[in-house]
Chain length 148, copies 2
DNA sequence: CCTTGACTTCAAGCTAACTTGAACTTGTAG
DNA sequence: CTACAAGTTCAAGTTAGCTTGAAGTCAAGG
């Protein structure tokens, strides 16, 4: 069992962040009689997952949903983890594809002045990986005219 | 010359956002006697640039710095724009490379439980494209032990 | 002239993901 | 026993990128 400071040092994630993750239900801890948190070693793998997932572009809420799929009362094994990461691979590929499209569009769209909202769909609408807040962005594929 | 509502409709960017961009120096407007903003058509291309750049992962501050490189008293031409986007291509490639590393690391690191801070450097330290706030993240390449 | 809608400014609010500070308790070393 | 580091909770602050609301102005149609 590890104290919060120990986990923080080993993971590189601040203690305050760990408490925050716990509040959000991403990790759990047992409490000593004193009230101090104690973590099993396996929490480190869980934290690694969180950090990787963030880097890929998932929100903490999404990450929480993924983690909830792990077996509740058993230490996750290799297969459990790889099942989760399978969906990531898809997301990563989608994000890469979007970046490739953006790259290709740099010359075509900004360079040439093609600002037609109909022609210039560089990104797939469904992608929330880059999570840039609300508000329509026709150029990035939000379908300005079709539909509603 | 276009009114702010017109620019908003054509670009898909909210009027409030346009005012915000102006406040941050990303775009400029002329004022009618009434105080209303009037934009030249060229502002649309500038806005397109902003939207694309955000999608790639640049902050508004970085975008402002890029836009500041455009000729001040002349409408930017194709070459001007492509000069700017040249640096983006590099960023995009770096980000793609990071995503590829993450993808490759999914199985290796989380799957197998390799949580060693020394071995598990999946991302390049300098990359701010994903901009996930402060705090060290050893696993993503922040060099925990070397250096200070 | 009156209404309506588009515009103005300014201040405050929002979300995500944390951090920071205050005030307090616990565990350990000397 | 006394320090002091490390832990606790809770509330409030931070940054980015806007949005929303209040209060008021301006322009065009009837």
């Amino acid at each position: 069992m590890l104290a919060i400071g120990e986990v923080s040092r080993r993971s590189g994630v601040a203690s305050s962040a760990l408490r925050f993750y716990e509040e959000r239900g991403l990790i759990t801890s047992e409490r000593a009689g004193s009230g101090h948190r104690h973590y099993p070693r396996s929490v480190l793998r869980r934290i690694a997952f969180i950090v990787f997932a963030q880097r890929i572009g998932l929100t903490l809420e999404e990450i929480g949903a993924e983690l909830a799929k792990l077996p509740p009362h058993r230490a996750p094994n290799r297969r459990d983890w790889s099942r989760l990461s399978a969906t990531w691979t898809l997301r990563i590929d989608q994000r890469i594809a979007e970046l490739e499209r953006l790259k290709a569009g740099l010359g075509d769209c900004i360079g040439c002045g093609c600002l037609s909202l109909k022609r210039c769909k560089l990104a797939n609408p469904g992608d929330r990986a880059a999570g840039l807040g609300p508000g329509p962005r026709y150029w990035i594929g939000d379908q300005p005219l079709a539909g509603a």
